[in-house]
């Protein structure tokens, strides 16, 4: 199976008044065509910035990709000009955002907004019919009537369906969904996930799902990559990572999720929070919160080390040389 999306050593910087922040630091990912990868991490870990870096579009002018490559179907997006990128966005990579109420234009009907997404790449001829068809595909009732409504006339779940319709109207091969259910009610969340799974199967789309919800990843994804403070700390097949997490951060993440679900007497919550990215800790960025931290962790960045078939973790615990030396320098 060939890879639809390959991200190699992607690094993105944001210039701020108080120094440079590196929200995406040497991130590499591969997603085989037709599969789904879940990118998980706490808020502030750089998940969303990774998505923005892939389509090279940032909500702030201060952000820019400083190095690395992004290959879509073998084609290098990092060397494309703005016009080339515009033809990729929406047409070959669809994007679903977190909060459907702010990501829709309040003064245009939802039909116009979906039609606009189609017309941006294929012209206005037949755009309205195509928009109604897309609204039907995302399961909106009476799509022809709904198309004439404004976003404020729809519920949150319906709005998210509209956002998804915009993303899929051009039938992109890759769908990037950034926290697609976070802003929704729990019951609606399940419907939206169902819809995404259904669309993916029917249209043969590859999915990059960004979420902090491990349950969502377990349900939706074949692969998982765990991100912490701008770096990938563990990656592998979803089941293997969930059943046998190898990075202490992943272990902590899973433990806190599981303990909440089972309502155990002792809830295991990870101490501390994501470090300030303006001044990240040296070495492994997780070492201040890590129960197994060794002296080498404070100095050297651990590379991604193989811990199983297709399964890697960026932790010195998995370097036999370091472990036998008893924690290195």
């Amino acid at each position: 199976m060939s890879d639809l999306l390959v991200v190699e050593h992607l690094t993105t910087c944001i210039e701020t008044a108080r120094g440079t922040v590196v929200p995406v630091d040497d991130v590499s990912l591969r997603i085989p065509a037709g599969s789904a990868l879940g990118l998980v991490g706490e808020s502030g870990s750089g998940k969303s910035m990774t998505a923005f870096s892939i389509i090279r579009l940032f909500p702030t002018a201060a952000a820019r990709v400083t190095s690395g490559r992004v290959l879509l179907d073998g084609e290098d997006l990092s060397t494309m000009d703005e016009l080339g990128l515009r033809r990729v966005r929406g047409r070959r990579i669809g994007m679903v955002f977190q909060d459907p109420s702010t990501y829709l234009n309040p003064v245009l009907t939802v039909g116009e907004q979906v039609a606009e997404a189609w017309a941006a790449h294929f012209g206005w001829k037949g755009a309205w019919a195509r928009a109604v068809q897309a609204l039907d595909q995302v399961g909106l009732p009476e799509p022809a009537q709904t198309a004439r409504r404004f976003p404020h006339e729809l519920s949150g779940g319906m709005r998210q369906r509209v956002v998804i319709a915009q993303a899929i109207v051009c039938q992109p091969k890759l769908l990037i969904a950034d926290e697609p259910t976070t802003a929704l009610d729990v019951t609606v969340q399940a419907q939206i996930l169902d819809l995404l799974r259904h669309l993916r199967a029917r249209m043969g789309m590859t999915l990059l799902l960004i979420t902090h919800d491990l349950g969502v990843v377990a349900e939706m994804c074949d692969l998982v990559a765990v991100m912490y403070a701008g770096r990938i700390v563990e990656e592998g097949p979803a089941m293997r990572v969930f059943l046998a997490p190898q990075h202490p951060y992943t272990q902590g993440l899973l433990a806190s999720a599981v303990s909440v679900q089972q309502a155990q007497a002792i809830t295991r919550v990870m101490e501390g929070s994501v470090p300030d990215l303006r001044a990240p800790p040296p070495g492994c960025r997780f070492h201040p919160r890590c129960p197994h931290a060794m002296s080498i962790c404070r100095v050297e960045v651990p590379p991604l080390l193989p811990v199983g078939p297709e399964h890697n973790a960026a932790c010195w615990l998995h370097d036999p040389a370091v472990v036998t030396r008893g924690g290195g320098a």
Partner: protein
């Protein structure tokens, strides 16, 4: 959640228009202004039917005071009917006012939107140009341009339009600056929409309300400027305008007051009407401002 869905699905476009009218109606003066504007528009449209005489045709009945059945508002020194002049003048004033304001707002929208959306160097250049135009005394430049390039309705419209755009440009730029960082703009960019589509079909509809308010105030300004130019003898000599009538009345201020009072009243009413409508629209769009 379900209840709120049902509560909002009753909304339609016409419903929000009704809401708007309800808010507009609260301002009595604005309603009066609207009627004034509608009445003047009707007069302008029906001028050939309403005017008893050809406003240009002279007669031997010169300098007749108002109140006679043949000339209710009197006649001027050449025996031209004042009422007919005022009626035809409405047509010229409104035509010039509306088209000049439309020109100004159109230029302002394009330049302001481009400056606000693209920012950086583009913004700097356009804004310096805007400031340049704002520092030039409007009326003096209008005098110079009309004196150089001649008089004529189309030229008047262009001159006034070219002079009045900076205000609209600044307003639209400010609105674009605040809108362009909103998530729906990022979403549009992520869908691959070209820049001009994002500017004109995504952002512009969101900022139109204050622009419409400004446009109605601009109409009043343009009417005033056109009348001023006419008063200085720089109006189109081939049509009857309020400013032109005032110009002609200068020599008769003491002997035939009706020659200046009635066209002057026309200017005052038109300017007042459009200003009241502008204020009313502003109040209706930002109802919290005056509570």
């Amino acid at each position: 959640m379900v209840a709120s869905v049902e509560a909002v699905t009753g909304f339609t476009e016409s419903r929000s228009l009704m809401d708007f009218w309800r808010r507009y109606r609260r301002n009595r003066l604005a309603v009066a202004g609207l009627f004034l504007v509608l009445a003047l528009s009707l007069v302008a449209l029906l001028a050939p039917l309403l005017a008893p005489y050809d406003p240009m045709s002279t007669s031997l009945d010169s300098l007749q005071p108002p109140g006679t059945s043949r000339h209710p508002l009197g006649t001027d020194d050449l025996g031209r009917d004042i009422l007919s002049g005022v009626i035809w003048g409405t047509r010229v004033s409104l035509l010039v006012g509306v088209t000049a304001a439309a020109t100004a707002v159109l230029i302002g929208i394009i330049l302001g939107a481009v400056a606000g959306y693209y920012g950086g160097y583009t913004d700097a250049v356009i804004m310096r140009l805007t400031e340049l135009f704002q520092t030039i005394p409007r009326f003096v430049l209008a005098l110079v341009v009309v004196a150089l390039f001649g008089r004529g309705l189309a030229k008047l419209v262009l001159v006034i339009g070219l002079l009045a755009w900076p205000q609209a440009a600044r307003l639209v730029r400010g609105q674009f600056l605040s809108q362009k960082s909103l998530p729906y703009v990022d979403a549009a960019r992520a869908l691959g929409l070209p820049g001009w589509r994002i500017i004109f079909s995504e952002i512009l509809p969101n900022v139109l309300a204050p622009v419409i308010v400004l446009a109605s105030l601009d109409v009043a300004q343009a009417i005033l400027l056109e009348a001023s130019l006419g008063f200085f003898g720089l109006g189109d000599p081939n049509v009857v305008s309020w400013g032109g009538m005032l110009n002609h009345a200068q020599g008769y201020l003491r002997t035939a007051w009706w020659m200046s009072v009635f066209p002057g009243l026309g200017i005052a009413l038109a300017v007042l009407g459009f200003n009241l409508v502008g204020d009313g629209l502003n109040d209706a769009i930002n109802p919290r401002l005056h509570e």
